[in-house]
């Protein structure tokens, strides 16, 4: 059974949490830009967090449900609708066979994540179902979705079937049903068009001039149009090293803030290369990567320095909250 693509939207790709274990071969990790949103969407439909969903960018697709399934949309608000009626984010929805999922105006953020009960059943390549666009690997035929594509769904888990049973009782004809449960607002990252993003010092932090560090941590930086899944390019005050330094290539990761010789910072995102040789001024903390993933072109970002210990405290708190939500969903079914 499957999803049928009536209209593909601007850039709709199959993503999971990324391709791990192959970065040592030079293969990029990729994966969802806002992994928090994809994980939540998966949990809400009873999937594993690592299952594949759709990453929907700015202009959403038009999708026909070819079977009744649980769906959840999390992340950016692209005005999702089921058979023309608005759908809330961060909830479980029972979408009946023949219903049409569409999107409208971009209201907040820029990337929405659609999870479907059973997950998207595209082949696993190099440990992942993620689409690696540049190499044409993984996902649905190695590319973004096109009109007429039929995306196969996996078998629904027991958790998924249980949630479906709960919602079926409340179903309302061809609209299906929306859960009364949702991700609590307090758990959501503080998404904003102009967020303050927390960073820790990068390896070469101390090599930048004092003036540059002051600018980096106090001024707004604007997201340039050349930004994409590989990296966000910023403009603002130039960042310069106290003296010229030659570095040899080493691993870089999601959120690494590197500064090429032109002095303008680049934050590496999901489709970053595995290694790099530019000075690393800072590193965006894992807990705040979703904020960045939802910033639109032209958005402003401010960076705030915290310690590694504090960053890991945030990380641990987020992970524990996700586990609590997961067991809460399991409790519902009892």
């Amino acid at each position: 059974m499957s999803l049928f693509v009536n209209k593909p939207g601007l850039l709709t790709t199959v993503q999971d949490l990324g391709r791990f274990g192959v970065q040592k071969y030079g293969v990029i990790a990729g994966g969802a830009m806002d992994t928090f949103a994809l994980r939540m969407a998966n949990l809400l439909v009873g999937n594993e967090e690592t299952d594949a969903g759709l990453e929907i960018t700015m202009l959403g697709p038009d999708i026909l449900m070819e079977q009744t399934a649980l769906i959840s949309i999390c992340g950016g608000d692209l005005s999702p609708k089921l058979n023309g009626k608005p759908l809330p984010l961060w909830r479980t929805v029972l979408a009946p066979k023949g219903s049409r999922l569409s999107f409208g105006k971009l209201r907040q953020g820029c990337r929405a994540y659609l999870a479907v009960g059973g997950g998207l059943d595209v082949p696993v390549e190099m440990n992942s179902r993620t689409t690696y666009l540049r190499a044409g690997i993984g996902g649905f035929c190695g590319r973004a979705l096109r009109q007429g594509d039929r995306i196969p769904l996996g078998a629904a888990s027991l958790r998924c079937l249980n949630l479906m049973g709960l919602l079926a009782r409340e179903a309302d004809g061809d609209f299906g049903a929306v859960s009364h449960w949702s991700v609590t607002p307090g758990m959501l990252p503080p998404y904003s068009p102009n967020p303050t993003v927390r960073v820790i010092e990068g390896e070469e932090y101390g090599l930048f001039s004092e003036e540059s560090l002051r600018s980096f941590l106090n001024e707004w930086y604007d997201v340039l149009p050349q930004s994409d899944r590989m990296g966000y390019r910023f403009t603002g005050s130039k960042l310069t090293l106290r003296e010229k330094t030659e570095l040899i290539s080493s691993a870089v990761t999601f959120g690494t803030v590197q500064v090429p010789s032109d002095g303008y910072p680049i934050v590496l995102m999901a489709d970053r290369q595995t290694t790099g040789g530019y000075p690393k001024i800072a590193q965006v903390i894992t807990a705040d990567l979703p904020l960045l993933a939802q910033v639109n072109l032209g958005g402003h970002v401010r960076f705030r320095l915290i310690s590694l210990r504090e960053a890991q405290k945030q990380y641990v708190a987020r992970e524990r909250a996700i586990r609590t939500l997961r067991s809460g969903l399991e409790q519902l079914q009892k």
Binding site: G21, G26, I248, S250, A251, T275, Q283, V316
Partner: protein
């Protein structure tokens, strides 16, 4: 890029090991800021060990010229190894990861480095497959045959993979065939093309734009995503190129699946 085997390998030997964070989900074991065989052996020793004995909570490791980066799952480390650190650090994954890796580094001292794998790569030099072979020859006052001789007579060490899937940073090319990058990069260079840029040589594993001088092409595939590992080369390998004729190249290409 850097020049493996160049001046960086010489005098400044501050290659003492240290561990530093890369963000809140990885740490880097590094040995200074220069490229040398000694350092490479250290990188290999740790990489080989992690390949054979991945520890609980390790997601993956990425070797580079003078470092090995280890990605970890903080919560899993806290569950498995909290007893390795002081009480106040038991909810501090980086400290725990550092303790685990420090313990591994102590054990490594007694483990010999495995002998390198040798990978032979056939190359059809010159012609339309290597349109810049003449440029490299002229630049160095050599004949094209001499360039091929020099290129095929060295053992190249794979220091690391990066830049593109399966792209090997090779050390060991003779300075006698070094050549500057092209002023205007080509928009697309086909997979398998062998090039020279500065004092470095390499093979493009996938179609990529690039500014290298192209001297030939191999029919061997360097990146096959359906296989695991997906790449022909791995860090620590020794590469040897050998010349094949255009006829052999075409036959080889014809037998590809």
């Amino acid at each position: 890029m850097m020049n493996p085997g160049g001046s960086g390998s010489g005098l400044n030997r501050s290659n003492e090991m240290k561990i530093i964070p890369l963000g809140d989900s990885a740490l880097v074991v590094k040995w200074g800021e220069s490229i040398s065989l000694d350092t490479h052996q250290q990188v290999r020793q740790l990489s080989d060990y992690l390949q054979e004995h991945p520890f609980k909570g390790m997601i993956e490791y990425v070797p580079a010229f003078a470092s090995v980066t280890i990605y970890y799952d903080g919560l899993e480390l806290m569950a498995e190894y909290a007893d390795l650190v002081d009480r106040e650090d038991r909810d501090f994954p980086y400290q725990i990861a550092t303790a685990v890796v420090t313990r591994i580094m102590r054990q490594l001292k007694d483990i010999p480095v495995q002998p390198a794998r040798v990978v032979e790569i056939p190359v059809c030099y010159g012609g339309d497959l290597g349109p810049d072979l003449d440029v490299v020859a002229k630049h160095n006052g050599l004949s094209t045959e001499e360039v091929i001789d020099i290129h095929t007579s060295a053992d190249y060490l794979v220091y690391m993979l990066g830049f593109a899937p399966g792209f090997a940073y090779l050390g060991g090319m003779s300075e006698r065939i070094a050549a500057p990058r092209r002023e205007t990069p080509r928009l697309s260079i086909p997979a398998g093309t062998v090039g020279i840029a500065g004092g470095q040589t390499g093979v493009y594993p996938i179609d990529t734009p690039g500014g290298w001088q192209l001297i030939g092409k191999t029919p061997t595939r360097l990146f096959i995503p359906k296989l695991m590992p997906p790449t022909l080369l791995m860090a620590g390998d020794i590469v040897r190129f050998y010349p094949i004729s255009r006829k052999e190249f075409d036959e080889w290409e014809g037998t590809k699946p």
